[in-house]
């Protein structure tokens, strides 16, 4: 099992450019998440998905879009990149059933470091 994989590892974007951060998991998890971590800060949830075709906003969704067409993949799209989106982005997945909601242990990818200049 590769677990959670993220590509690219590092990217420099110019202001106004767009890009998609890729995330894939091979653990058949139903929940997937996107977080950003700014220096000296904790992880802030951008978007999450409880299953294919279902996504929901987290704490900081502005400037991002997501889709979940398969169980395995959860890409994060940045439209019109801004310097405020310079951060490290982590994708995670977990399995939860029924009333447990999103309580399952989250498994994180290695992160994508994004620099917007």
């Amino acid at each position: 099992n590769a677990g959670v994989t993220q590509t690219p590892k590092f990217r420099i974007l110019k202001i106004g450019q767009s890009m998609t951060l890729q995330c894939a998991q091979d653990m058949n998890h139903n929940y997937m998440y996107w977080y950003r971590q700014d220096p000296g800060m904790g992880l802030k949830l951008i978007y999450y998905s409880v299953g294919a075709g279902i996504t929901d906003k987290g704490e900081v969704p502005n400037g991002y879009n997501v889709s979940r067409s398969t169980t395995e993949d959860f890409p994060l799209r940045l439209e019109l990149a801004a310097p405020s989106q310079t951060s490290v982005y982590f994708c995670a997945s977990s399995y939860s059933s029924g009333l447990a909601g999103g309580r399952g242990t989250q498994y994180f990818g290695p992160g994508t470091r994004l620099l917007v200049l």
Partner: protein, 111 residues
């Protein structure tokens, strides 16, 4: 409005001694708490969790204590080892809501 607070950005401990990392929360609806550990250039990894129906959970060298009345939890590492040097994140959730993470505490274990 920070719902999960880790007020110590860093902590240094000698090898073999106890490390105590603290976490406070403000949301009384939180009923599930976790600790994650993060090494540089890697994603966080799950360490230990505790439900609000317990006040202690132990896993090897790691023990988490929960004081619901004080809205406080702590992670004890005994004995501390150099490989424990990492950033530790406290996280909490209410039923059917996503996790909320603290800012993290950087632990340095000195040989």
């Amino acid at each position: 409005d920070q719902q999960v607070k880790q007020n110590s950005p860093s902590l240094s401990v000698q090898e073999g001694r106890i490390s105590i990392l603290n976490c406070d929360y403000t949301n009384s609806m939180f009923d599930y708490f976790l600790w994650y550990k993060k090494y540089p250039a890697e994603g966080p990894t799950f360490l230990i969790s505790i439900s609000s129906i317990k006040d202690k959970n132990e896993d090897g060298r790691f023990t988490v204590f929960l004081n619901k009345s004080a809205k406080h939890l702590s992670l004890h590492i005994v004995p501390s080892q150099p490989g424990d040097s990492a950033v530790y994140f406290c996280a909490a959730s209410a039923p059917n809501t996503p996790l909320v993470f603290g800012k993290g505490t950087r632990l340095s274990v000195i040989a």
